[in-house]
Amino acid sequence: MMKAAKNYWIFVNRCARLAFVGDWRYYAWMGFLTIFVLLGINAYAKQFVSGLITTGMSDQVSWGVYIANFTFIVGVAAAAAMLVIPVYVYANEELHDLVIFGELLAVSAIVMCLSFVTVDLGRPDRFWHLIPGIGQFNFPHSMLSWDVIVLNGYLLLNVHICGYLLYCRYQGRKPARWFYIPFVFIAIGWAISIHTVTAFLYVGLGGRPFWNSSIVGPRFIASAFTAGPSLIILALQVIRNVTAYRITDKALLTLRSIVQVSMLINVFLLVNEIFKEFYSGTMHVASSKYLFFGLHGHHALVPWIWTAIACNMIAMFLLILPISRSLKYLNVACVLAFVGIWIEKGMGLVVPGFIPTPLGEIVEYSPTLNEALICIGIWCFGFLCYTTLLRMAIPILQGQISKANETA
């Protein structure tokens, strides 16, 4: 037992030391991210002192870019399942070794999600009121309590799976199937659940007709399975370029077909939503009208949503056409899909739900500089986590670091 603990300690220690060494590109990248993280921390310190008045939010639009980014990134985290399913359900060989990159992305994404929720709290010092057992946990009534469970559960599942597989690889032994395969399958279901629960957060609000629509859940999943794998396609190419890790084009093209189908479903569901809203033209169309065309002279979101739709449409056509078998076009499509969905699901979903207010008032929202800096800080922190995790994982996967070459 003591020996096992000591072995594990050496492993953790070596991994941690790895995070601080690299070539000049690594330092430049990490330094660049750190600078923005620091900017974010500074901005948050200001918000912590003055309160959320430093944001563009108000009683009328009481959630803004924090929750918008949170919602989007939950989707990115869930998308790890899109690597896991082909491998473990359909025994896809190409993606087999890449699963761990998806799972590490999920871990980083959940860390970002939790950060975004924390910065949105008015009383972060009272976070312990949320902890089951010592606080008051309104389960199962509040969807937010479900979200706390599924997000933290998903984090633990992925940390366990990645950590266990990497440790086994480090030790040079075969992982015990019973110790991770069940968790892999639980994680697949769990990935769907984190995003469904996040959708239910909105769907469950009867007083907000823009969100109170059963299609929001499926749209969330479809858009997540587009944006997430798009990011993974891009990330894998970066890994391939800066490390000696072998990633085949075939693996990328397998992911392409996932993005392709998801994007089609995503656009199809969007069309459904738009039809229902505008053809029936009930009083509840006001938010959609505000989003797409502007309402009573207020149209802050109109350019954004049309940019998003243009991005999604171009991405969809690129993905359908055979030209996206060339990585150049595939990358363009992935970037467009990612940006398009980020706008559509972030600002395009959260903000119009508040406009007009339930009393018909129109108060527009735009994030402040401080708010934007906090968001950028958290994004950079997420990238910092992901880079660090990859920095540790890749040498282990390549066998450069293993029990065999322990010096201590």
């Binding site: 060494v21 310190a45 200001k46 609000l205 009867g206 009393l359």
Partner: protein, 320 residues
């Protein structure tokens, strides 16, 4: 990343060939780390301005429903001390419990309301809301005749005189729903419905996630976006724990039917200030009460947004 370097073991990257070069590397790395830590410390500099954000006592304060009477007495005493220190007035702060056999209902006569907004400001004065930034529990909408579509309502009318021709006025505040959406969504049970029908908030338990604000179909909830400000001479010293005691930055608040008055048997401030007598309040379980009379005798009364299933205890009615 380092894998492009010829050395397969990045651990050995720390063992450079030459002594002098290693020293320079060490200095450079130390400089980065030192300036990085300095930048982090500087980034946290705004925290210097943090004033009485929390104390150990406040941080560890128990949930309202789990406090013993002794705990509550201690907390009330702390609040009295804090209020006195900040506003120079010794307040009476009580923890008023709901009465047996009482369910409050509010009725508002849309035929009578003239849209003068006195209720809005009497409410602010009674309930110690922040004056700047402004927090108000009541919104009065100026509605064109013939429609109950709230989107047609004007919130910011600034007429020379009210009432105006071809409009009616619709004040909206917390509807004290029988199925409150806000209570359901609160992740920490910081808001709940008491047995007299009032939905209250434990201001010291709320984490400020604003989910209730998103859930409320009546725009009834308000958030303290920053430290609330109340001029000393406008503080109402008659306070209740779940009612009008001063709130802090980062928590929700809303109309609580003036708990500090109504649970002591009195009418709410908005009822007593209405020059048109449009506001009626009372115990619906008492058949002799004004509200029972209204629900029995007035032909048309509406619960706002009945379709959302919240079943408000706030009724709008019309004369004849």
């Amino acid at each position: 990343m380092s894998d492009s370097s010829p050395n397969p073991n990045p651990d050995s990257a720390q063992k450079p060939p030459e002594h002098g070069q290693s020293r320079r590397d060490f200095l450079r790395t130390s400089a980065v780390v030192a300036t990085g830590v300095a930048a982090l410390a500087a980034a946290l500099a705004p925290l210097r301005d943090l004033k009485d954000f929390t104390t150990v006592e406040k941080f560890l304060q128990k949930y309202y429903k789990e406090m013993t009477p002794q705990d509550m007495e201690k907390v009330l005493d702390r609040i009295r001390r804090e209020v006195e220190a900040q506003y120079g007035v010794r307040p009476t702060v009580q923890d008023l419990k709901p009465m047996n056999g009482v369910e409050f209902v509010y009725c508002l006569n849309l035929t009578r309301c003239i849209g003068c907004r006195k209720c809005v400001h009497a409410c602010v004065a009674e309930n110690n809301q922040s004056r700047d930034p402004e927090i108000q529990y009541i919104r009065v909408l100026r509605m064109p005749h013939g429609s109950l579509d709230l989107e047609k309502g004007e919130h910011n009318y600034d007429s020379e005189q009210v009432p105006e021709k071809n409009y009616f006025y619709m004040p909206i505040q917390c509807q004290q729903c029988r199925n409150p959406a806000c209570v359901k969504v609160c992740p920490t049970k910081a808001t709940w419905q008491d047995k007299d029908g009032i939905t209250v908030i434990d201001y010291d338990w709320c984490i400020g996630c604003r989910y209730c604000e998103a859930a409320c179909p009546y725009f009834a909830r308000r958030f303290n976006w920053t430290r609330p400000t109340i001029p000393k001479d406008r503080l109402n010293p008659n306070m209740a724990y779940l009612g009008n005691r001063p709130r802090r930055q980062g928590v929700m608040e809303k109309c609580h039917f003036c708990i500090q008055r109504t649970r002591a048997g009195r009418y709410p401030a908005c009822v007593e200030v209405c020059p048109a007598g449009a506001r009626k309040f009372g115990n619906v379980l008492d058949p002799e009460s004004e509200v029972s009379y209204i629900l029995r005798n007035k032909r048309v009364f509406i619960q706002l947004k009945e379709e959302v299933g919240t079943s408000p205890r706030f009724y709008y009615y019309f004369d004849v």
